[in-house]
């Protein structure tokens, strides 16, 4: 039970990172972006490539940072991947979503995002093959926190959680202490009024894609560290991430963080009562429960 809770918190840390960008895009651009989860796999695979490149060019960075199985080159690779994935998100908007949006087909954006998801997912499959990849072939030994009940935690998982919380805290500081953050929140609340107050809407939308893509990349790497990299990981992550945004309330960054942890914990606690094969269905149950009890989520506002 406690083990499930701990695993749930760890799952929640990457779901939250993924949900933050999704909730902002859904709120500001007003469409459910089904390709957001593909940014996680894109980020994970970009980091895989960068890690290999950095390790080859600068072998001294490829040393493990004990007790973690992570290496300095992977950490560098994460940072590069954040930038590359953020720019890719921006490029997707430029090439596809912006054009569909400007044709006045707001509803069609959802369709376009499904199409994009199919393309990205399968191109990754073509490039990297369908078999799983790992950042580190070494087996990371878990630390035993308690023997009765048996509770295991891997050092990598602790790193993932702390790094995720740190990123969320930095984002919190940006949103609550900088005028850039105010501008972002202003656009989320009332885009027209934000423009009246001198906020450049196009630039803000670009910033949202960059932030969303960057955080998605980290989330993808963390998923890869916790599990493994597979080309279809986006397919398995899309529903939990959507559930996190709905539980938290669409448009609320803090809601997305909380929603991510709630969905992560619920998915793992469900293992207590449900066979593990049913885990993919848990996010739907969460969505339906929220829609029944509190349709606009924990922090959301009624907005059609």
């Amino acid at each position: 039970m406690i083990q499930h809770l701990i695993d749930g918190v760890l799952t929640g840390s990457y779901l939250s990172l993924g949900a933050i960008g999704l909730t902002l895009v859904m709120h500001i651009l007003r469409f459910a972006n089904f390709s957001h989860a593909e940014l996680l796999s894109l980020g994970a695979y970009v980091a895989l490539v960068c890690d290999a490149l950095v390790s080859a060019l600068a072998p001294f960075l490829a040393v493990k940072l004990a007790p973690l199985s992570l290496t300095g080159s992977l950490i560098l690779a994460i940072i590069v991947s954040m930038i590359v994935t953020g720019l890719s998100a921006l490029l997707m908007d430029r090439l596809v979503f912006k054009r569909v949006r400007e044709k006045g087909q707001e509803l069609s954006m959802v369709f376009a995002s499904f199409g994009m998801a199919l393309i990205i997912r399968n191109v990754i499959g073509l490039i990297f093959g369908l078999s799983p990849e790992l950042y580190s072939r070494d087996i990371a030994f878990a630390t035993i926190l308690s023997r009765d009940p048996l509770i295991l935690v891997k050092p990598d998982q602790v790193f993932v959680l702390i790094a995720a919380l740190l990123l969320m805290f930095i984002l919190h500081l940006i949103l609550s202490r900088t005028t850039f953050g105010y501008a972002l929140r202003a656009v989320a609340e009332n885009a027209t009024l934000a423009q009246v107050n001198g906020v450049n809407l196009q630039r803000t939308i670009m910033a949202v894609w960059l932030i969303g893509g960057g955080l998605a990349a980290v989330a993808g790497v963390f998923y890869g560290i916790s599990h493994q990299l597979i080309p279809v990981m986006g397919r398995d992550l899309v529903l939990p991430i959507f559930a996190a945004t709905i539980v938290g309330g669409i448009g609320s960054v803090y809601g997305a963080v909380l929603g991510g942890f709630i969905v992560g914990i619920a998915g793992n606690l469900a293992l207590v009562v449900l066979p593990s094969g049913y885990t993919p269905s848990v996010p739907l149950l969460m969505i339906l429960a929220v829609l029944m009890i509190r349709p606009h989520g924990l922090f959301g506002e009624a907005r059609m």
Partner: protein
């Protein structure tokens, strides 16, 4: 009239290209004056302000500000030109604190920001007292003052105000309008749309009357106060206590 700070000439505009709501409307604002636009419901008053602010496509005519053509201006460029716009409703960010609202408005002020913030708080002591509260907690009158403070933050030469007294108590409405008057003493020009005709006419310098998207008459506010035609255009359609 060549010294007008704002001149809208034969403006045709609307939400949809084929269905203009404004047809050939011309309005001028003299520096340091309050220019009032009134007219029955649906006359196109708000539409005119939105067209000037770049929120609606202008399909005919042109708009100049301080001698420069600003027709179809990008809304986020208004403040850079020296124009501020106070929308009728939803004119503050409820989820931000009062201070954050003002910080946002002062974003481009650079090193002057702190000094200007001080001046604004001197001018609106009620806001200073609540600066750490969410703007959504303010009363209707205080929200209007915050919206005006945000408009002033950019140091504008012209403020477009869309029914600032709407939804306020008579006392609060009076305060807001008197504040607008006081601003003109400092050289700010105001284009004011109001439903509160009697009060506004006592305050304004010049007045334009619109109906059905067209100019009707205009003249010094003083003269229009007792004008019979105004009563005819107006009283028949006038909404009482309209928000």
């Amino acid at each position: 009239m060549s010294e007008a700070i704002l001149e809208a000439y034969a403006v045709t505009a609307g939400y949809v290209p084929d269905l203009p709501i404004l047809r050939d409307v011309s309005v001028t604002v003299q520096p340091g004056q309050i220019t009032l636009i009134i007219g029955p419901n649906g006359a196109g008053k708000s539409t005119l302000i939105k067209a000037i602010a770049g929120l609606l496509p202008v399909s005919g005519g042109h708009i100049t500000f301080a001698g420069r053509d600003i027709t179809g201006i990008r809304t986020d460029q208004l403040s850079a030109h020296g124009i501020a716009y106070v929308p009728q409703t939803d004119n503050i960010f409820r989820s931000l604190t009062i201070r954050q609202n003002l910080d946002l408005a002062l974003r481009r002020a650079g090193s002057e920001a702190a000094a200007r913030m001080g001046l604004l708080f001197d001018q609106f002591p009620a806001l200073a007292a609540k600066q750490r509260d969410k703007a959504g907690t303010l009363s209707g009158g205080q929200r209007q003052f915050l919206a005006i403070a945000m408009a002033l933050a950019t140091g504008p030469r012209l403020i477009l105000m869309d029914e600032p007294s709407a939804g306020l108590s008579p006392k609060a409405a009076q305060e807001v309008l008197e504040h607008a008057r006081a601003l003109t003493a400092r050289g700010v020009s105001i284009l004011l749309v109001e439903q509160n005709v009697n009060q506004a006419l006592r305050l304004a310098d010049h007045c334009f009357i619109l109906a059905e998207g067209r100019n009707q008459i205009d003249g010094p506010a003083e003269d229009l106060r007792d004008n019979k035609v105004v009563g005819e255009i107006y009283l028949g359609n006038r909404r009482v206590g309209a928000a």
